[in-house]
């Protein structure tokens, strides 16, 4: 199986471990990730907050390159995924927009392919059975709060993926890996990622609420499928602890890091040693390193 792969800017920098894990896991599952040559930034929030045309055109360029190969696009970043879907929708519903986009990108994007997020890829396209077949090590002892964040499932009219209030697909994957998934109500609460730099105090409040609920629900770690959520939850965790006078020291993993661990890859191969919340002791305690 072959699928176009759009890492997005984070996976080349702050989310490099997600990139490494995706590649190893895909290979093990017999999937060829065809990285879109010379892909550009999706524009993230700054683009759709600044112009109605810009975000669609930026995403259409990447989608068009994949469409020329007849491929759908796996977008492991939930924000990129969401923006790509918006561009697909715009091109399919707004003739005028499509013409202007194609003029700008110098290609003929027809909107025949779509974007797929990482959980959807593992759960809907690969399937739990094929994942289970590759497991070498059960992740027993992990108590995982699956954190889907906003853009993987919302708005549902756009993503058409899982349930926007209580999604289950990531939980099913984590269950299959042998870990325990906890029941908690903040699966799709916002971490405030977009304001991380311009209004840091907002994200300290929002991430504090997420961590305190995770702890109260009995989790010892979080798992996400978005490099922005992962970064936001780990990078400012110390600042959050200081601001609210609490101690979490809670690792936040990407879904493919956990899948990779259960497939027998070492934390180093998967880049798990590159986290902002040091997880050496945690992984040792859980006999995963």
């Amino acid at each position: 199986m072959k699928i176009a792969y759009y890492p997005g800017c984070s996976l080349e920098s702050t989310g490099i471990e997600y990139h490494l894990s995706n590649k190893l896991v895909a290979k093990k599952l017999g999937v060829e990730l065809w990285e879109i040559p010379n892909w550009n930034c999706c524009g993230a929030s700054p683009a759709h907050q600044s112009d109605l045309f810009l975000p669609n055109a930026l995403n259409a360029r990447n989608l068009a390159i994949a469409e020329e190969e007849g491929l759908d696009v796996l977008a492991p970043c939930a924000a990129c995924y969401n923006r790509m879907l918006a561009a697909v929708e715009a091109v399919n519903t707004d003739e005028d927009m499509r013409e202007k986009i194609n003029e700008a990108i110098g290609r003929n994007y027809r909107g025949t392919n779509t974007a797929i997020n990482m959980v959807q890829f593992l759960h809907d396209i690969i399937g739990i059975e094929k994942i289970t077949a590759q497991i070498q090590k059960k992740l027993s002892g992990l108590k995982v709060a699956c954190y889907y964040g906003c853009l993987l499932v919302k708005p549902p009219a756009l993503t058409k993926f899982d349930n926007p209030e209580n999604p289950q697909s990531m939980d099913r994957i984590v269950d299959a890996l042998g870990a325990e998934t906890i029941v908690w109500p903040y699966k799709t609460e916002c971490c405030g990622g977009g304001l991380a730099i311009s209004k840091t105090e907002v994200i300290l409040k929002l991430t504090n609420e997420i961590f305190s609920m995770a702890v109260a629900s009995g989790a010892d770690c979080l798992v996400t499928a978005c490099p922005m959520c992962q970064l936001n939850l780990e990078l400012r965790q110390k600042a959050t602890e200081k601001e609210y006078n609490v101690k979490y020291n809670m690792p936040v993993f990407e879904i493919t890091e956990l899948v990779g661990l259960s497939f027998g890859f070492s934390p180093k191969e998967l880049g798990i040693n590159k986290h902002f919340v040091n997880n050496d002791a945690f992984l040792k305690e859980k006999k995963l390193a």
Binding site: S45, S50, L52, C190, G194, K205
Partner: protein
């Protein structure tokens, strides 16, 4: 807030309201003010108005006040409101549209740093094709005069080899620059 005569405000704002509706494809008249959007909004605690109030103000023709409000700049686009709205109003997209229009019309921006961040981010994309984090930090910090922004976490980023001091220049960056050029042409054509 100063006193306003409601029917005069509504009448005077009609052209502006129809422009907002035409660009956002959101019909604010559909809203019956249940407040579900405000209840689920992660940023309304720090905003002057909640999303429900923004919509109410538009219904009442208080367009100027909306264009100057914090909410249109604080909205993170999480999608809670549109997910739960019984009238299916795409409020994040409405906020985006209001933000864009307010900037085009030269209204004072209530959250300058958000605007500077967005602008700095897009500058790096325009010139390199991708986000250039170190460049974004330099631009944002100098333009917002928050010289130490991100400096608490920057050393860790470099230590872990996550942030490069150099941009990643893609081959198709001329195509990307063209997209920005086209955007400006379209803005100018209006």
């Amino acid at each position: 807030m100063e006193q306003v005569v409601m029917n005069t405000a509504l009448k005077a704002s009609e052209p502006m309201l129809s422009e907002i509706e035409q660009k956002s494809h959101v019909d604010v008249k559909k809203c019956y003010q249940c407040g579900t959007c405000a209840a689920g909004c992660p940023v309304s605690y720090t905003s002057d108005y909640s999303p429900r109030q923004v919509v109410k103000m538009l219904q009442a023709g208080l367009v100027d006040e909306v264009y100057k409000s914090h909410m249109i700049w604080l909205c993170v686009g999480c999608g809670n409101c549109v997910t739960r709205c019984p009238r299916n109003l795409n409020i994040p997209h409405l906020h985006d549209t209001l933000r864009i229009l307010s900037k085009e019309k030269g209204y004072p921006c209530a959250e300058k740093n958000v605007d500077i961040f967005n602008d700095s981010f897009l500058k790096t994309v325009e010139y390199t094709g991708r986000l250039y984090e170190a460049g974004l930090t330099m631009l944002y910090n100098t333009r917002s005069r928050n010289f130490m922004a991100g400096m608490d976490v920057a050393p860790g980023m470099f230590m872990l080899g996550k942030i490069s001091p150099f941009p990643h220049l893609i081959k198709g960056r001329k195509e990307v620059a063209n997209i920005f050029k086209k955007m400006r042409e379209m803005k100018g054509a209006k």
